[in-house]
Symmetry: C2
Subunit: 234 residues, 2 copies
């Protein structure tokens, strides 16, 4: 197997927040995979990478179902990883693109695990995370000196959310669309609501920013919204 797979983080969405390393690798890629869900027609990650690709680079369309049935997911990942393996066996340089960072809540992690077991040569290129982009955009220092930060998908169990909020100086809350009033209540209980801000589609043309979340419990945030919150006593 002479090919190599690059897992490439293309950053949070702003096309300029890709790294020089990612750009240099993309210039020599033979096959590029920008995973898309069945719902969306295009891939933002692919749009970001496109300007750097060789004119004859092949786009491999792999569809990753946005479902929670483990069996359906496993079948899809197994099939996708086999397709990638075929390309590697042909000696191709393959790029698997991911928004944000490839090692943080990404589909790439599953592909990486499967292909590592099959002894594929893999190199992973880190990307700017969505919460770092949000913090810079908002002028929201995430942590200094001995501050503890937790990154919590708000889709987790409520008790796990509450335990994480209790011990954190700063919280990055992702996927806050489900039970928004409940999330606000948890932030209040833990003295994290006063210095909280929610950002949706950070850096995109439709970006929106909300402060004073406690008075906005009726908001219906989209799935890609993130809350940054800091303990008031600090």
């Amino acid at each position: 197997m002479k090919g190599i797979l690059y897992g490439i983080g293309v950053g949070p969405g702003d096309p300029e927040l890709i790294t020089v390393k990612a750009v240099n690798i993309l210039k020599n890629i033979d096959v590029v995979i920008g995973p898309r869900t069945q719902k969306k027609g295009s891939s933002l990650a692919l749009d970001i990478a496109s300007p750097y690709l060789k004119p004859d680079a092949e786009i491999l369309e792999l569809v990753f179902p946005m479902v929670y049935e483990e069996e359906t997911l496993n079948t899809a990942w197994e099939s996708s990883s086999n397709e990638i393996l075929n390309q590697l066996n042909l000696g191709k340089k393959v790029a698997f693109l991911t928004l944000g960072d490839p090692m943080l809540y990404s589909t790439y992690i599953y592909i990486y695990r499967l292909l590592s077991k099959k002894a594929a040569q893999i190199e992973t290129i880190p990307g700017i995370t969505s919460f770092c982009a949000a913090a810079s955009r908002l002028g929201f220092p995430l942590a200094d000196t001995n501050d503890i930060i937790s990154i919590v998908p708000a889709t987790c169990e409520r008790k796990d959310l509450d335990r994480a909020l209790a011990i954190s100086d700063t919280v990055v809350l992702m996927k806050v669309s489900k039970d928004f009033p409940g999330i606000i209540k948890s932030l209040q209980t833990n003295n994290l609501a006063d210095n909280a801000v929610m950002i949706s589609k950070c850096g995109h043309p439709e970006e929106s920013i909300h402060y004073n979340l406690t008075s906005q419990e009726a908001l219906k945030p989209n799935y890609l919204s993130t809350i940054l919150a800091k303990r008031s006593s600090k």
Copy 2:
């Protein structure tokens, strides 16, 4: 005040892990600040940025004392922010460089807070964090689906460390040079020691990586070492 201050994250140390946005801004900078400590002669952040600077870009040397006396620190930051303000009043485009991300445990945060109060125009450019770089380098997936991650400076109080470890699926432990055996014990107690790896000077020529930390309590990690650890039950 016509000038603008850019707080620029230049990434974890690998010169290629700077963003295209940072590079494009650096090309037009008049004055660049790469903070250095009194101990070290050169600035790694400045070395990374140098190839992109205009030939006549001015390097402003500001020394930030590596001490914990609040008064000494405040005086240094106040004096540095005033020097930057002078440049902005001259209409200069000023870049303040920071390794990693500017909103995470950086000197820039203090400068940002002081200059925000003085109504300076500021734009912050996020950077690749050291722990994302380490995760990609090590093939260490940080989190999937509902995993909770904590980022903990091991210099914090032991009880805070233990509380954070207890609620986390993945832990990023920074500044682990102090009481290394104690840190390992805390990881063990919280079922986080078996899947733990320590990396020092990630991406540098003198990079070192250590697995099986429980059998290496005698290690003397340097200040810039990071441990990534994942709960075994997952």
